[in-house]
């Protein structure tokens, strides 16, 4: 198959993957709390309901912005799989997240606004890392595309253990997991009500959810980049990482944004930066 076919497949399969992942997550979380939890397909039921429900638009600009959010999330996956330059992907990914911030910031609710500000903070915390990660992967494998990285004989994770560690930390933000679920939260008992999504209803919220599923699939694809020997190995690594995230989610409280910013920057600088620097020095 050509890379373009993979890209098209991503558009259709990534939501299924992301939704199932969310379903498993909710069920496993419930079991960790001693409950039965919702059915496995619950995220799809939620999405279906949200699409059917009335959508109250506070500002007409919200819907195009959110559609842009979904679109660019999907596009970054498509571009990734169809062989675009990896560093470019990191920028498209950041752009997608920015659309959500703009959508949340364009409404008048103070909660939504505060959520948008926090999302901006975590964006600031996570994006430098992704760019660094992509650059490091390109450097290690000598390839600049997804297929190229997968074809490389080097196992990236062995070369970049620091980047892997930092990735796990940053993925906590991107997967919206405790302790770093500060801008929105999967369960709503936080000081910002529902943070970013406070003023979104009906299909608006469905877009956010859908984009999040694309995001999870994209993170999984990034994990495959780190474990580039084979796709099953990458998927396995992602499964283990996700299980760890769920466990930590259920064993910690929500951190404050200052800690999130500090720890991600520290991880980016110390783990990934140190890792890249070490490689650079060793290769001399």
């Amino acid at each position: 198959m050509t890379p373009a076919v993979y890209g098209v497949l991503f558009v259709f399969l990534a939501p299924v993957f992301g939704g199932l992942l969310a379903g498993v997550d909710r069920r496993v979380s419930a079991r960790m709390q001693g409950r039965i939890g919702p059915p496995l397909l619950q995220p799809f039921y939620d999405l279906g309901k949200l699409l059917q429900k009335q959508a109250r638009q506070v500002n007409p600009v919200v819907e195009p912005l959110l559609l842009g959010h979904v679109f660019f999330m999907a596009v970054s996956g498509v571009l990734l799989l169809s062989g675009t330059d990896l560093i470019f992907i990191a920028f498209v990914f950041a752009l997608a997240a920015l659309f959500l911030v703009l959508a949340a910031g364009s409404v008048n609710s103070p909660y939504s606004f505060a959520g948008a500000e926090r999302e901006l903070v975590v964006l600031l915390a996570s994006e430098p890392f992704f760019i660094l990660m992509m650059a490091a992967i390109c450097k290690v494998t000598g390839a600049s595309t997804y297929a190229g990285v997968l074809a490389s004989p080097q196992l990236v994770a062995v070369q970049l253990p620091g980047v892997l560690l930092a990735f796990l930390l940053v993925a906590t933000i991107k997967l919206r997991k405790s302790p770093f679920d500060i801008s929105t939260s999967h369960h709503p008992h936080q000081e910002l009500v529902s943070g970013l999504t406070t003023d979104m209803s009906g299909r608006m919220l469905a877009y956010v959810e859908l984009a999040h599923w694309y995001e999870s699939a994209l993170l999984c694809a990034f994990m495959v980049l780190l474990f580039n020997w084979s796709v099953p190995l990458g998927l396995l690594a992602f499964a283990i990482a996700y299980a760890l995230e769920v466990l930590v989610d259920n064993s910690t409280s929500r951190a404050k944004w200052q800690l999130v910013l500090r720890s991600t920057w520290a991880a980016t600088l110390v783990f990934s930066g140190g890792n890249v620097l070490a490689l650079f020095l060793l290769s001399r």
């Binding site: 419930a30 079991r31 960790m32 039965i36 906590t172 760890l244 466990l247 064993s251 910690t252």
Partner: protein, 146 residues
């Protein structure tokens, strides 16, 4: 980021994950209530002598009794199941059952426009000879209706 090895909740979360969930699968499995639990007020129309003490003592004013029309009515949606009416009833017409009260829908409006949850008993007047004399109770005012 806190050290994941030092999070004290992790063993508990893992134990919960592998053990059976604590959930009672209501409404598919119904756990019997404890004996003596306060649930629903039950009324036996046969023994009631319409003394109206229950209606007077009810803190929530959920009971309406009309001696003239010989009706006894309770608003299940107002009743707080404190049990005072059961305590004061000299005829033991009232009892407390352990069953929870049923949920009512908006559509359940009575024939005279009574609110959902209105339950009413009516006992036809017996022949004049066997009306028991109720001493010391003033004649009731006009029926308060439902």
């Amino acid at each position: 980021m806190p050290n994941p090895l030092k999070l004290p909740m992790i063993p508990r979360a893992l134990r919960n994950l592998v053990s059976k969930p604590a959930t009672r699968r209501y409404p598919f499995e119904i756990r019997p209530r404890f004996a003596g639990a306060r649930g629903t007020i039950e009324f036996d129309v046969e023994t009631c002598n319409y003394c109206m003490l229950c209606a007077r003592r009810c803190p929530a004013a959920a009971i309406t009794v009309s001696r003239e029309e010989r009706t006894w009515a309770i608003e299940q949606l107002t009743c707080i199941a404190c049990g005072v009416c059961v305590d004061v009833c000299s005829k033991h017409s009232l009892s407390m059952s352990v069953n929870s009260r049923a949920v009512h829908l908006r559509s359940e409006v009575g024939p005279q426009g009574q609110r959902p949850g209105h339950e009413e008993w009516h006992k036809p007047a017996p022949a004049a000879t066997d009306i028991p004399a109720v001493a010391g109770v003033p004649a009731p005012a006009a029926s308060q209706g439902a």
